[in-house]
Symmetry: C2
Subunit: 392 residues, 2 copies
């Protein structure tokens, strides 16, 4: 038998493995050293009361013959679909119930959505980029065109006449740069997609971090998007579901390509290759959208936003160029004196014990930059700011 | 942009939709009619005490800063991997911890495993067959060869000289026929695969239902299997996880094709396209393998097995040909007087109110047969037996 030949084209995913090795080495060499972890984008605050209460109540249901739930509906339970609809409606976006598909994570959803595409599509991804968009298409053998995200365009690439792309991945607020598109900028992408029969896959996983009122949380706030866009969102970064796993995909019912309805294709894919998000997790996810749940989300996101503000203030004070921090839990900053990503990563780690992520790990244009996350305690973040000040 | 052209080759999945329509129609026409559902293979008993206790305790952990778990290890947590190892060891199969990969369902795992294969492989599946093996390969555009499962071979196809297959799906005990391979028969498949550089994907989702001591629960009980087989298993049908979602894949460390390690490829696939089974669900899954959990599994499986025995006795008494029931929660029986699957399905539904699944829905060779499940109460199963007796 023959293996998928395209796996050979993947870069080995050394980024976080290399970071782990370097951290392990310094811990061995200096066992007492104080390290502050601001590398991997994983949340730190515990699950909220209303989420755990809902999951535990659902467990109690599942322990009774009358309350037991076996295979669930492929799209997700109506109680969760309606909760998500309510969340969108509060921002002025009307969705039909059957335009929402519950999943187990935006990573899975964005990576697997490409199952619906022919191999012969040109895929556009930003550089630097969340590696999943890139790798999942490499695995399928699709040609990829890189959209340069640089200091010159504020790390927000836009379409131009020369671009030829069939599928476009946009992440706003961006992982890794924290940059966020304005409505006018997203409109340019929507217009491009509608003019060129392209499809936008819009990753809104960080929308809860937007603080500026004029920035769009959903691509469906943009006119014309229902004809060219699919939106992905997750409960990982707002409600702390990184280890609990729930997400949703929004596919407008009008969205067609080649005369075919994208929602129906995705449902066919999901009903063949997925068996739904656990009932108890869907109950926990629905609690996130309750009044109390939203208060808790605001409080959790607010806690991380305060960390982001601390980091942003430190960089501003130091005169360091950065993006993110304002509408994002990520800060993307330039290394001093033209140092490389990995060079400054090593110095940050060895000299002041701060673990970051080298920007070069996200793409060629990430060279010279680093990413810090706001997912930490106030105390650690404050201490990290003090340590950073010694480095510039 | 171009869509995946192979989705056009899928049969629309009318089977269970059609069944639902027919059931809805009869409910409307005869609102008071007593119906017994023995169609879809979904469990009915509630989650066990030790599982719900473990999940709720894990929820409490997740609600504390010290006990919070974010992104987990891609393979699954060691506590679950070790629990699964212990389960295999008790049956004489030694596995290394890094030969096990926790997933969210055997459907997802078997369907997505084909991501690792080139399009240019001939895939062999039984006919009749669990539709997921077939459909997931149609979606990828792979040629499929059907292994006729008929009354003549006891619904257990075996390899012969003429077979050309690169990837072979085997499900034992079988969904839908309930037939189970002997060690000698599986050895023929293992020898075929090793001689022809083929790969066996062995679905053991129903292994807990095996009552005959000499039947293999795992393909790794067969000599040579570590060089040619991957095993899939699930907690759905033994511990009632159809709505809770946990599974595992076993890939021997020695298993290579084209000089490449299959386990490493699967880990690369999973780390790009999946973010793990929820922590709380993994805690519940580990409880299944505890001493108390295994007692509960025996009791649940035993309950369904008693239903299967009742159905088997009824068919035996009636002189109806059937497979399954002994080592499986499914009974696969022949319609009387050469009736078609759908013809007898309709009569069962209309005349005695028993909902079955027409065998023709699982493949051409399923014509003339029907499937009943043992996932029901004793009372309903007993009543169903009485009703069946009126039909032959």
């Amino acid at each position: 038998m023959k293996l998928n030949p395209y796996y050979d084209d993947l870069k080995q995913n050394y980024l976080f493995a290399t970071i782990e090795e370097k951290v392990a080495a310094i811990k061995e060499a200096h066992p007492g050293k104080s390290l502050i972890y601001m590398g991997i984008g994983d949340v730190t605050l515990p699950l909220s009361d209303s989420v755990t209460a809902a999951i535990k109540a659902a467990c109690d249901e599942m322990a009774t013959p009358a309350g037991f739930h076996g295979y669930g509906p492929y799209r997700g339970y109506d109680f969760l679909l309606d909760a998500i609809r309510g969340y969108y409606k509060a921002r002025g976006v009307e969705l039909a119930r059957d335009e929402i598909y519950v999943g187990d994570g935006a990573k899975t959803d964005t990576a697997c959505f490409s199952d619906l595409f022919d191999r012969d599509n040109v895929v556009a991804v930003a550089d630097p980029v969340y590696p999943v968009y890139f790798d999942s298409n490499v695995m399928d053998g699709r040609p990829i065109t890189l959209l340069a995200a640089t200091r010159e365009n504020d790390f927000l690439p836009l379409p131009d006449e020369s671009l030829r792309a069939d599928v476009i991945y946009l992440c706003s607020p961006s992982n890794p740069t924290g940059a966020v598109y304005s409505k006018e900028q997203l409109k340019l992408w929507v217009d491009y997609a509608n003019a060129h029969d392209a499809l936008i896959l819009f990753d809104a996983a960080y929308e809860a971090y937007i603080t500026q009122d004029d920035k769009p949380h959903s691509i469906f706030e943009i006119e014309g998007a229902r004809n060219c866009a699919v939106e992905f969102c997750s409960l990982s970064k707002n409600a702390g579901f990184t280890g609990t796993r729930a997400s949703y995909v929004v596919i407008p019912n009008v969205l067609e390509r080649g005369g075919k309805n994208l929602g129906k294709l995705w449902l066919r894919r999901q009903s063949t290759k997925f068996n739904g998000t656990p009932y108890i997790i869907q109950r926990g996810a629905a609690a996130v959208f309750s009044e109390e749940g939203q208060r808790e989300v605001l409080s959790m996101v607010g806690y991380y936003q305060e960390n982001a503000r601390m980091l942003a203030s430190a960089f501003t004070e130091l005169g360091v160029y950065f993006t993110g921090g304002v509408n994002s839990p990520y800060l993307w900053f330039e290394a001093p004196n033209g140092e490389t990503s990995w060079g400054f990563f090593d110095r940050l780690l060895n000299e002041v014990g701060v673990v970051s992520t080298p920007g070069a790990g996200f793409g060629v244009n990430g060279e010279g930059f680093l990413r810090l996350t706001a997912f930490n305690t106030h105390e650690n973040t404050k201490e990290a700011c003090e340590r950073l000040k010694k480095m510039f």
